[in-house]
Amino acid sequence: MDDLKKFLTDKVLLFESDTLLPETEKVLENIRREKTDKPVVYLSSGTSSIIAGSEKTWSVKTYLEENSKDTELVRVGCNAPLSYEPFMCVQLPGKNKLFFRNITEEKVEPLLNGIFHSDISGEDLVGQHGNRGFGIWQGIPFIDELPWFALQKRVVLANCGCYDPERIEEYIARGGYRAFIKAIRHYTWDEVCTIVEKSGLRGRSGGGYPTGLKWKQALNTATASRYLICNAKESDPGAFTDRTILESDPHRLVEGIAIAAYAIGATTAYVFLRKDSPYALRKLKNAVGSAKDYGLLGHNIFSSGYNLDIIVRVEPGAFVCGEETALLSTLEGRRGMPQLKPPYPATSGLFGKPTVINNVETLMNVPLIMQNGPEWFRSMGTENSPGTKVFSVGGKARLAGVIEVEMGTTLRALVGDIAGGIREGKELKAVQMGGASGFFITPENLGLQIDFDIIREKGLTMGSGGFIAVDDQTCIVELVRYYMEFIRNESCGKCIPCREGTGRMLEILDSVIRKPANEDSGTTLERFKGVMQLESIATVMKDTSLCGLGQAAPNPFLSALENFREEFEEHIFDRKCRANVCRGLRTFSIDVEKCTGCTACASKCPVNAIYGTRLQPFFIVEEKCTGCGICFDICKFSAIKVK
């Protein structure tokens, strides 16, 4: 192992020329598993795969041992749609890599038996990986031609799912850390900032602030020490991009952090990781540890005189900590409450020192920019927003997962073509972009291009890249209530507009989806007035809240009201939920034909609204019914109907 380390250090990392020696390339090809003389089985191992059962699929190992097959088994990150998890790739010597989906424990044996006897068939086969000069499997489609892979531009995610994220050697063999070495050996701090500034890279956390400019601000503040913080908090309740990146390609993030820290002259960098992601934590710690082992972090890195230490911190669980100043408070060991800006962290941040806070995706771009130059980066995307953007597509999309597209792609292409529209043939009602503080976008407006300026002009935000496809079976009002409840729970309580506003908004939304106590027109009017007040509360919160959390909290509501006003009105006046999800508004009736009189519903009804004689059809007294739905859930004969 030490030989390999020495080889990689001398012949790759410290090799002066950009093109490596041919004999070095040959060794690297082997490490990259491009030329193998034995079969290789790749198995996905991210959190999403583990949820889908990949730990059990690990029985591949026992199979290979029992059948004494000389085969390499590699755990890789995720690059496929979540519905394909757990996936498995098999590469036979000299042949293209085959891609199989949904390989659960019981499928392992028949599948591998087939492959080792060259019998490739079955519905689990997705296709073969693109042509790299290997033998082509006849009659098997190329996965690079599937919309999911073909329409994405994978730059940030290029390495995801291709290599073992726990081995730094594989990352170095893929060109890793050479950008960092180049930076510390040949460029000054200022030059690195200028390169990044020229590339036009903008912060991927939603604001779109030019990264190079931010770095320069910190660099130009005279001080004894500066800090770099990688914000991997990923607050959005429906987003998982950062975690997928950390689990699939942690080394590039470490390299990005190292370059960024060098650019601002920081000797300590923090990674602020979200809780509940033990696998990401393990892989990140491993990546930092092996980088230290290679001398890429620590004291006097490769005799350049530059020192850097990366400290991994796990966020203790508060949504608001994703906000810059609150994040700083948490790192300082206080309650994570936001502070007034300015001063901005770039001039006075952690411990009062200049601090740059970048998110994971931004930092993932940095090594590529250093390696390929700013012009290369500018060649992708649009004039004002070069590069790509990663989204975590979820909700009812047919193919959910982490998707990377070039800036300038339309939202329609993202949800319609790549994610394949909506599951089970339902209609797309809206997409929700930007997480709990994002906006609803109707299908008519999906022609919008992904570009920081265009999105901002429309008054929208990309947020951290959460992208939820909403189908017509989902009630918008309830979804808005869900976001509001989330924000209410996570409001830190420092400023009044947010603390009180979120609570009141939730109360009003609750009254909209609940059955009123009495049916006179007065209550309807009150509720209508409530919704009117919602709008004014929302405006006040937007104008007066201290931090982004409160300012953006009303966004889902305001955009839903704008686009789906009739649905709110239906809830208020007709007390109807067209998607039939709002429990409080449902009324039930019993199908006389189907009811067997088993009394199950009547005995469970909490308000005794169901009457009848045993073995005769029962009936529901509508005035008494609260719409709780217990009878609906309990009936074994589907005799209870929602009106």
Binding site: G46, T47, S48, I50, I51, A52, G53, P81, L82, S83, E85, D236, P237, G238, A239, F240, R243, T244, K275, D276, R313, V314, P316, G317, A318, T330, L331, E332, G333, R334, R335, G336, F351, G394, G395, K396, A400, G401, Q432, G435, G466, I468, V470, T474, L479, Y482, C492, D633
Partner: protein
């Protein structure tokens, strides 16, 4: 127990406020919760009053001050799981166990918490039982599931 805390404290330097949260996290990882004893010890060690430490710890969701149940459930309430019906699931668990989020029953068997996206968006709603994942859980499965888990714990 108190020995464990002493061992952990030895790894840290006193007087460094920024290490307070990692310290509390490590104690919680070892003991499962932050006991009064632990908070007092940390206070003496860090030179902070216990109220300050409680002030910090109660702000964050991660810290709990009572032991968690033998069966610790985590229910994903990310947007995708919510759309697949995690709310009914949470209500079902609440009714069945009679507990609120973060509480532990008197028998010490169950406790549950609600988390944001776990990453199983296509397989929602996702529930994690002591770290093992169950996918596409339906509310009607909850009573049987809890009975089964209780049976396993009681006969263990």
């Amino acid at each position: 127990m108190s020995k464990d805390i002493d061992l952990i404290l030895k790894k840290y330097k006193p007087g460094r406020r920024e290490e307070l949260i990692p310290l509390l996290q490590e104690i919680q990882d070892t003991n499962g919760h932050l006991s009064v004893e632990a908070i007092v010890k940390v206070g003496l060690f860090a030179g902070l009053s216990t109220t300050k430490i409680y002030g910090v710890a109660t702000f964050y969701d991660q810290f709990r001050f009572i032991p968690s149940g033998k069966v610790s459930l985590k229910i994903c309430n990310g947007t995708s799981c919510f759309m697949s019906g995690s709310k009914a699931l949470i209500n079902g668990i609440r009714e069945e166990t009679g507990l609120e989020e973060g509480q532990t029953g008197r028998d010490g068997i169950f406790s549950y918490e609600i988390t944001t996206c776990m990453g199983g968006c296509h397989h929602g709603p996702v529930v994690s039982v002591n770290g093992e994942y169950l996918t596409t859980v339906k509310p009607e499965q909850i009573p049987d599931l809890l009975k089964k888990l209780k049976f396993i714990i009681e006969n263990d």
